[in-house]
Symmetry: C2
Subunit: 335 residues, 2 copies
């Protein structure tokens, strides 16, 4: 029996890896939102001096990693592995950023669950004795995501009320076997869950069942109730997905309560034109690496359950009539 | 210092995970080639009763996993994690296969290096004490890859001499903390290496520098010479890439000798119309899970270095004038 397993989907770490540093780069709109003050760097425009949005996104991811390293006076050579993924086809943002950094690289794809996926595997690499320091990073960019998944921006296509606004942002953390402050105590790894949603403009509904499924597995495996945590945070369900998770989980007799928030709702809270809220790998990444890390250091939060969700579709799968499955990975972060 | 590290890029396992089972599904052309006799299942046509090639590829991956499980009378519920990735945008093959299997899922993307990436992380999960059994799987399909990366097949576009033929094939292994026979003793994780190749029809040249780089790191970290191994195998460099690796590595004073083979050259050896040889995640996957596993069991090979290489491009990155970086991960398999 795997010694660190706790139930079917959860593992606990013997020597919980510390989050010793984090870096964030956010877009202009994100910088103007309620979390704007938490970001290390905010862009003035969508291109940031690059010739394409894709190059901008890569530059942002690279910068987020560099900021996280600089805060601890670390060089790329001090890092054992980089784990990163993004929404672009063949995760070019991550691969091209890894080309610059020259850190041994594992490319991941978990759609918008990627930040939690990198933290899960990164923690296992450290607690397993394979690494001292790991960089976990991800990003998204409104313009690259729209270009790839939806319509040319120049068309000015109208958005549905359930549609979400892809966050322009990149977040990175350095995990270490030594440190103080927030550390990762365990992770619950999600299964692919499909409730048959086919509307690619309603990602919250597509991802909510997987979010509820992983929450349920987590509380069962750990024999905990939501009250154990100060903050339970999903990645980018938006307002409709968030409400759906509450409903689905309450049907199992679990009340998430006021401690439950969604990064997609928080990052653009009160803003108009973002419809159901923020989305994209960068949404949960900049929220966690900026806002949550800062508030943990200040002592506002002591015990957090961070669960990022991903919608596992492609334009091809949607064109071929496939439904949209979701996945969610949960990470326990404690001070 | 991470206790299992050996040099900068290599780790050795304390309790090497065993490859207790493997499953392969190959296309018609691959079945007619010199490795055909090693595959568990060979398709009669490109669709296999499905309505799209993408659905076929997903079905193949699922079947390869099911075959690997059946050989050991295992159910999906006996498996702690599934690690899988593929070439299709947003790795839909792997995600949709994981939806059927309902095993906690980590999606990976390493282009054609994916088989080695899944084995690397899968082994760490077991040796780290986080899992007893892990499924590692990947696939590719000639028709889905051509549709996505190149031209509609109906056009009959002429192929360049350096072009490779994407293997239609899916391979899966079950790694276990207990067993007998071939086991994974360690892995060397690659960096992203870019020599500035921009010709998307010459993937062998794009990937060869990363293959040589990881070989060099491996021999340095382990303080071994190629003679330690019976077989050194790259994934899908094809004939030009294979020769380039020999040249690049010989410039460092290392002679790979006759023990060095490339799956892309072996799988279609002697066949016409495949130009430089086979490629795709499925190329190294079916070669390893079929041919190599069988020959290890028969005792022909005792010590193998399996290094799969990936070209980290997308159609967007090529259209934007980016060069094509490569990555290679090496896995030590011993009886």
């Amino acid at each position: 029996m795997a010694v660190k397993k706790l139930g079917k989907q959860t593992v606990k770490f013997e020597s919980p890896p510390y989050i010793i540093s984090s870096g964030t780069v956010a877009g202009k709109r994100e910088g103007e939102g309620p979390l704007g003050g938490y970001f290390d760097m905010v862009l003035n425009d969508e291109l940031w001096g690059e010739k394409s949005w894709e190059k901008t996104e890569c530059h942002m991811l690279l910068k987020a990693v560099e900021i996280a390293l600089e805060k601890q006076k670390l060089a790329p050579d001090d890092i054992d592995y980089m784990l990163s993924g993004d929404l672009l086809n063949q995760i070019i943002t991550s691969s091209f950023a890894a080309r610059e950094l020259q850190i041994p690289f594992f490319g991941l794809y978990g759609a918008c669950s990627t930040m939690a996926e990198t933290l899960s595997l990164g923690s296992m690499l450290i607690d397993g004795g394979f690494a001292d320091k790991v960089v976990c990073a991800t990003s998204s960019h409104f313009c690259t995501a729209e270009r790839q998944y939806r319509f040319p921006l120049e068309l000015g296509t109208q958005r549905t009320p359930t549609a979400q606004w892809t966050v322009t942002g990149a977040g990175a953390v350095v995990l270490s076997n030594e440190g103080t402050g927030p550390c990762i105590k365990g992770v619950t790894t999600g299964k692919v869950v499909d409730f048959g949603i086919t509307d690619a403009n309603d990602m919250g509904a597509a991802m909510a069942p997987s979010a509820a499924d992983t929450f349920q597995a987590h509380f069962k495996d750990t024999n905990r109730m939501p009250e154990y945590y100060d903050l339970i945070l999903t990645g980018d369900l938006g307002m409709y997905g968030r409400d759906l998770v509450r409903t689905l989980i309450s049907e199992k007799g679990i009340d998430l309560g006021d401690r439950y928030l969604d990064c997609g709702c928080e990052i653009f809270a009160g803003e108009k034109g973002v419809n159901a809220g923020g989305s994209g790998c960068g949404c949960s990444a900049v929220s966690l690496c900026g806002w949550v890390m800062e508030e943990m250091k200040r002592g506002k939060y002591q015990k957090i359950l961070f669960e990022a969700t991903g919608a596992l579709l492609s334009t091809t799968s949607s064109q071929q009539g496939e439904s949209i499955p979701g996945i969610a990975h949960a990470v326990i972060i404690e001070n």
